[in-house]
Symmetry: C2
């Protein structure tokens, strides 16, 4: 079975999630430990993740290095890579980057849906570009071994982050805007600059940002991956489904509105299609992920190319960026 | 003696500060309760201010309304208006605006020296303009009775804040960039838009943002005030000295670098002139503030105009914006 590393999932993972993912061939997944949470809440979340892994140590492990992912795979476990979808965990403190790296966090997105002290978000009317604190944080993440994620970051800030970072960065879960136009998706310019610098985009399987066509049969989603490879090249395209586990209405409200607004905000959805998006036609259950490698072969990718998309590109990027990479 | 309201001072106030200010004719002052502090630290700061006022209840009072300022004046006390130079006290939570209004906070600056979730700062390479959370906070400050301050906010964000706010706003401590070019000073466009909307600028007496000429003899500083009136009109110019009390090197380090950078940052100073700026020649001690009304008369202002600059413009703006204004 071709191993799959998923560059981003979110929601409330449980034992069933781990077992289902592992049985579908997923050997590593970057999990979302927080969206809007500040420092203490983020520590809480890391604590909950430690508990969850301890309670499921027979099927899951926390991965601090790329080798941990491979080790988990050998042991028949799923490796959880700890990530945050916002930089709020740092609360404006440059020295907390190292602290959270030490606590095992490996992936942090510079902004979530709103502008912050670091950069502009894709949902702001205007993308501010990288701000002073954003430059400081990127270099500190480089130094302390965290991967910079720009999935919800605006195109302009993303280009500036690629430029400012001394190491390649990631767009863990987004698609090409030229394939499906959406604020969350990235321009071809961004995808090319990302590729040029050794970065990787994880293609999302979230209907709001694929549109209905690429969320139809698996063949269509794999066609989207192939077209993304046409833009960014075979070494820079991977998988980042954006799949959520056990999400309910209050979770969507938190994700979209956090505490920043009393008004409604639709996030990647819209007034016309609010609420939870239907999963892709091909992706009704986690088990469906086991069809991905075959689907990629069916749209013409070679075995070597399938390996890059499903796991090797993420592993290469993790080796280039993660703290204490041991090989 | 013509009463003076100072739109912004900072530092570690003590009994001596209150007595010196009151004896110089200062009857109201907006104090800085925080620069980078988050929610809990800001609550701490408010607690310390309550203690400080309790311990000096014979010479000082907290003003919640414009009438409190007048009452304090009648009682021979100085009125402290509680302000923050950053929106960090809200920590991204829209509902905390009302909470802090209830706790007596009356003036909040949207950004300090760095971009944040609300807006762009004057020190960023580029001013983002007002962000989504900034719009929400301004309307909530309008509703809950707080004055929006844009002194360290970028020119572009300030123009957008004037536009977005349903009530007039303040630039509590800055000067006209056309009189002394500095990132912290405001363009004539901003000053005119501010005036047009009923807002007020407090002219600063801080050498870094006046330059040496306007920090020479009092006559020069009063000339700067007169030129600012030429730009913004007599109803929109007041005093906001930016005077600091008992400030030492660690205070400047905190003010400028907070926790956001390990590198040096000079704030309003520069590599050529780092550290603490010398006070204006005319403003060696707090007692010198008692010369301001006379100085303004000497550059040609009428008694009515002197009253507007020294206190009436701030009082009018406070009546238009403060919660529970009782007259």
């Amino acid at each position: 079975m071709t191993p799959i590393i998923d560059g981003l999932q979110c929601g409330h993972f449980d034992r069933d999630s781990f077992i289902a993912l592992r049985s579908a061939g997923v050997t590593g997944v970057t999990v979302t430990c927080g969206f809007w949470e500040g420092t203490v809440e983020s520590l809480d979340s890391l604590g909950r993740w430690r508990d969850l892994i301890s309670e499921n140590v027979d099927v899951a492990a926390i991965a601090l290095t790329p080798d941990d992912i491979i080790r988990a795979q050998t042991d028949g476990k799923i490796a959880a890579i700890l990530g945050f979808q916002n930089a709020n965990l740092f609360e404006g403190r440059i020295r907390l980057v190292e602290v959270f790296a030490e606590l095992g966090v490996r992936v942090v997105q510079l902004t979530y849906n709103n502008q912050n002290e670091l950069a502009g978000s894709c949902y702001e009317t205007e993308d501010s570009g990288l701000a002073r604190f954003g430059r400081e944080v990127i270099l500190e993440m480089n130094r302390t071994g965290m991967l910079v994620d720009c999935s919800h970051v605006g195109n302009r800030s993303t280009l500036m982050a690629i430029e400012a970072s001394e190491k390649p960065i990631a767009v863990t879960h987004a698609n090409a805007d030229s394939l499906f136009a959406h604020k969350r998706n990235k321009s071809d310019d961004v995808l090319r600059a990302l590729a040029q610098s050794g970065g990787v985009i994880g293609c999302a399987a979230y209907r709001n940002i694929t549109g209905d066509y690429y969320s139809g049969p698996l063949e269509n989603w794999c066609e989207m991956v192939a077209r993304t490879v046409d833009i960014a090249g075979i070494d820079s395209v991977a998988i980042g489904t954006d799949r959520s586990h056990n999400f309910t209405a209050p979770d969507y409200a938190w994700m979209r509105m956090g505490r920043w607004t009393r008004s409604g905000d639709y996030g990647s959805a819209s007034a016309a299609r609010p609420g939870k998006a239907a999963p892709p036609d091909w992706f009704q259950s986690l088990q469906d992920m086991d069809k991905i490698p075959g689907g990629l072969r069916n749209v013409g990718f070679s075995e070597e190319e399938v390996a890059k998309i499903t796991h090797e590109n993420w592993l290469r990027l993790y080796r280039a960026t993660f703290r204490n990479s041991d090989s």
